[in-house]
Amino acid sequence: MNNKQQMCGGEALVKALESAGVEVMFGLPGGAILPVYDPIIDSSIRHILVRHEQGAGHMAEGYAHATGRPGVVMVTSGPAATNVVTPLCDAFLDSIPMVCITGQVPYAAIGTDAFQECDTTGITMAVTKHNFLVTEAQDIPRTIRAAFHIATTGRPGPVLVDIPKDIVDPVNPRSAMTWYEATDADMDLPGYSPITQGDPELIRAAAEMISEAQRPVLYVGGGILKSRAAEALLELAEMVQIPVVTTLMARGAFPDSHDLCLGMPGMHGNFTAVTAMQRSDLLISLGARFDDRVTGKLDGFAPDAKIIHVDIDPAELGKVRQVDIGIQGDCRLVIEDLTVAMREIGGTEAQADRSAWRSTISGWQEKFPLVYEQSELGERLKPQYVLEELRDNNPPDTIVTSGVGQHQMYASQYWRFDHPYTWINSGGLGTMGFSIPAAIGAKVGKPDRRVWAVDGDGCFQMTAQELVTASVENIPIKVALMNNSYLGMVRQWQEMFYDERFSEVYLSEQTPDYVKWSEAMGCVGIRVESPEEVAPAIAKANEINDRPVVVEFRTDPRENVFPMVPAGKSNSELVVDPSQQGLER
């Protein structure tokens, strides 16, 4: 290869993406990015043409979640850039590695209110880990390398690269450049060097604190998945025999069917997970961030617990809850070091006697399981039942994505996540419409795995058009549409906290016709109304692999998600299912 090859910036951009190992990108062309779409024709990179730029962003997120590799998005300037703001923010809050290339008006036109101009780097500054405006074609390879480096190291996150048209357009002399394979030395990032190794003294102190704890809980978050630490976590948990709660972002990071797994804590967590944290004397937080949906009212959160907090981002340590030991570092590396330190001080044998704690926990598990009542003849389906049937009729490595709302909580509660990277949802931003594009991205990244998008009818109507993308690009995802004809979670809040005054939450019982709509988008559409139809419909959907399938489950709008910690209340005030409300805690 001629290393001194002359080329135009557009070719260099595509070549730099190939050099970064990009196999797939999600995008939609337009005026300012046009010159980059020409060399894409000759590139090894597969481009998925989306129907809306927001879809491209969520697909890239789903791809990144499922594969661990950065998701890549390419869109044009102006409205296309503003359309990716939501997925950028989503990726920022959930620490998803993502690189987004946006077209920009020619450099000389910036600031003139040119056609399809917007201040993309200004707008996205608050929702990206970092962004770049590239001003010279010669800077393209090094900027792309820096973008991938920043997106994938330290606390991962989205990075945006804004590219003015003149530096990629071969008819413009400003696009001329000499190709070079950018190296780390070319990146010029004097202010960026994430620390990954934990402080050995703090790790030793943590090991001692853990050994002495009577009622410890491992509180694990999405950082476990980001740092590929699931195996290390399993080894540590089994050695010290400490129960594990997995947050909404960490479902699957520790197997649900494991004896030590208590499931999801938080606002809609199960009783045992929430209460074990509440009564704990030591929370060992690994890659979690004490989100308000986990802690409830902060003053009342785990009042007797000391805190060991491990996070790659030092700004998380002590941000919400004061820590007793805060360790900055990559979760996997710190857990491995911690396991060694625990072994050195005696491992399993050196642990405090926790038999009373274990029996208290199993007592809660027995007394307060997740419950619901099966529907009666003629009633609409119970969403929990649908989730149980989905779970029981799919292999355990099925990838499940979800939108945001009641269906998301049911999916997290009722699925059994036994493998990491099988659960993909929008945790921090809570972006309705996430599930379908995320499922497409996941399926593109893991084509051999079955991918189910669990969606609500409100969410479905926000991003359903990406099912056209799935059909045309031959990405056979499956959608479980939980249609209760309402914005269900908002309805639940209005029922519980607004005296059942339902305001603007009813969508429609008959419109749209989801089966016809799905068929129009090239999918198979199936409607399910009674319990005995559920399993056969799932079986039928699982047999179809040449196109996407949408199964519309007509679910009961009166069903509410329990348990629930009302907003602003302490986790000790967890509201359990009505059938369990008299029980002594």
């Binding site: 500054m125 608050a126 880990k129 920043i150 004097p190 960026y192 700004a315």
Partner: protein, 163 residues
């Protein structure tokens, strides 16, 4: 007299690139931190600029401010300077009314405070004065009775104290 203990100076070395000040000030705004004063200028190394802030640590936890600043890719170095560990100065330019009746009295004040006369005409005198922030406040109060026509302060800059 020293500045209130709650005012801490944060000296950041940042890459000298377009938009860096917007990133830093945007961070303060969206995390709800209030900036008391802000001074920006290139350093002796043209690749870097220095941004010096004063923040009221009662309005925001200093540790969070520093940690969040550190996350900005273009921020290279941060020094926290509590009041007792730094030497700080601020510059004031001020135009004061100075008619014939009060001119003599004003000139005496200027001499006492070791301010500099930069320009004058029959009605006004323009001064420069540099000192610790609290001294600027005091001087400003002394000038006020004469009639302040225009006043501009730079915000504080600081370096670590010598041992």
């Amino acid at each position: 007299m020293s500045d209130p203990d709650t005012f801490h100076t944060i000296v950041t070395t940042v890459e000298n690139k377009p938009g860096v000040l917007a990133r830093v000030s945007g961070l303060f705004a969206r995390r709800g931190f209030n900036i008391e004063s802000l001074a920006v200028a290139p350093t002796d190394d043209e690749r870097f600029s220095r941004i010096t802030f004063t923040v009221d640590v009662e309005s925001a936890p200093l540790e969070q401010v520093v940690k969040q600043l550190n996350k900005l890719i273009n921020v290279v170095e941060i020094q926290e300077l509590p009041p007792e560990d730094c030497v700080s100065r601020e510059l004031m330019l001020v135009t004061v009314a100075a008619d014939a009746h009060h001119r003599r009295e004003l000139m005496e004040l200027i001499d006492d405070w070791r301010a500099y006369v930069l320009a004058e005409n029959t009605e006004r005198i323009m001064l420069s004065f540099s000192a610790r922030t609290a001294r600027l406040d005091e001087f400003e109060e002394c000038l006020r009775p004469f009639g302040i026509v225009e006043l501009q302060r730079t915000g504080r800059v600081a370096l670590p104290a010598l041992d």
